[in-house]
Amino acid sequence: MEEGKGVISTLLSLFLKLSAFSVLAFGGINAILPALYDLSVNQEHWINSQTFGDYFAIAQAAPGPNLMTVTLIGWNVGGVLGAAVATLAIAWPSSIMIYFLQRTILNMRDKKKQQIIQYAAGALAVGLVLAAAWGIAAQINHSLAAHLLTIGTIAVTFFTRWHPLYLIIIGGALGVLGFI
């Protein structure tokens, strides 16, 4: 009984926190990764830093939307139900928002107003995504080699048009060989 209560209150807390993240995620899921780390590792101690990094890696490597890091944390907290709750929580508030906003924005008579919203949200998104990359790199890269691999990835994407999957395969291979 006590245990059941514990699980329900944990799931409720997971649901509420992730729902709040949803409407703050300018720039998509990547932008909220540090907040997700803070919540799941530092505040709630659902998982440790290592597991967060590993879940992030699995979500990156698996096909599908990048919100799967959230799904995995939910799964860790409360099994299949937890995975469903977490995925639903991160998606529902923003989905309702976009449902009502899309026509409003697309049909705006005043194109200038539309542009102002676009520029402002765009700048917020860039800032949050860059801050997220910085914050997450600091948490999950534990060696100089890992940081170099991150920097190398950035360089490759700047100078080539390689598909990200190749880079993920190369990174995984370097890791298996013990370099990272």
Partner: protein
């Protein structure tokens, strides 16, 4: 969905080129909106496309179609992870992948920044956001609350100017 390294290119191919649900312009406009509204971009896009054709039911169908498969797969991967994460090879594999993954996020950020460079004052918003989040470790809500007035002010100036 078979979205290795991002679902977007795949979504465009299906929606615009194969099924011809939307024209390329309609798709771009829709994507633009979905990227400025907060939330998982690809879920936002599914809501937009789904609701365009079948209202609320369409939005639900599109989001479920997009997420159910990957959620099931990732749970299986989570189970495998529980069983095999003690192995050094698996640990190394995931360390390598996550280092690349962070790099991919950073380069997405830098690519998005190219648009901002057309109006350099906007860099102030980006710097403020990064400082507030990474240096002062403010919560996400505070960061957005703090930086959005400046973002809107500069966006307004850019459009009026």
């Amino acid at each position: 969905m078979s979205g290795f390294g991002g679902v977007l290119p795949w979504a465009r191919r299906t929606i615009v080129e194969q099924e011809k649900w939307l024209t390329a312009q309609e798709f771009s406009a829709m994507l633009g909106i979905c990227q400025i509204v907060p939330g998982p971009n690809i879920v936002n896009l599914a809501v937009c496309v789904g609701s365009r054709f079948a209202g609320v039911a369409g939005a639900f169908a599109a989001v479920l179609g997009l997420t159910l498969g990957p959620v099931a797969l990732v749970i299986v991967l989570g189970v495998l992870y529980d069983h095999y994460s003690y192995m050094p090879i698996v640990q190394g594999l995931l360390r390598g992948i996550s280092a690349v993954g962070v790099g991919l996020i950073a380069s997405t950020g830098f690519k998005m920044m190219r648009n901002e460079l057309k109006y350099p004052p906007m860099l102030a918003v980006i710097i403020l956001t990064v400082l507030a989040a990474s240096y002062f470790h403010l919560g996400l809500g505070w960061v957005v609350l703090l930086t959005s007035p400046l973002a809107f002010l500069l966006a307004w100036k850019r459009v009026k100017g």
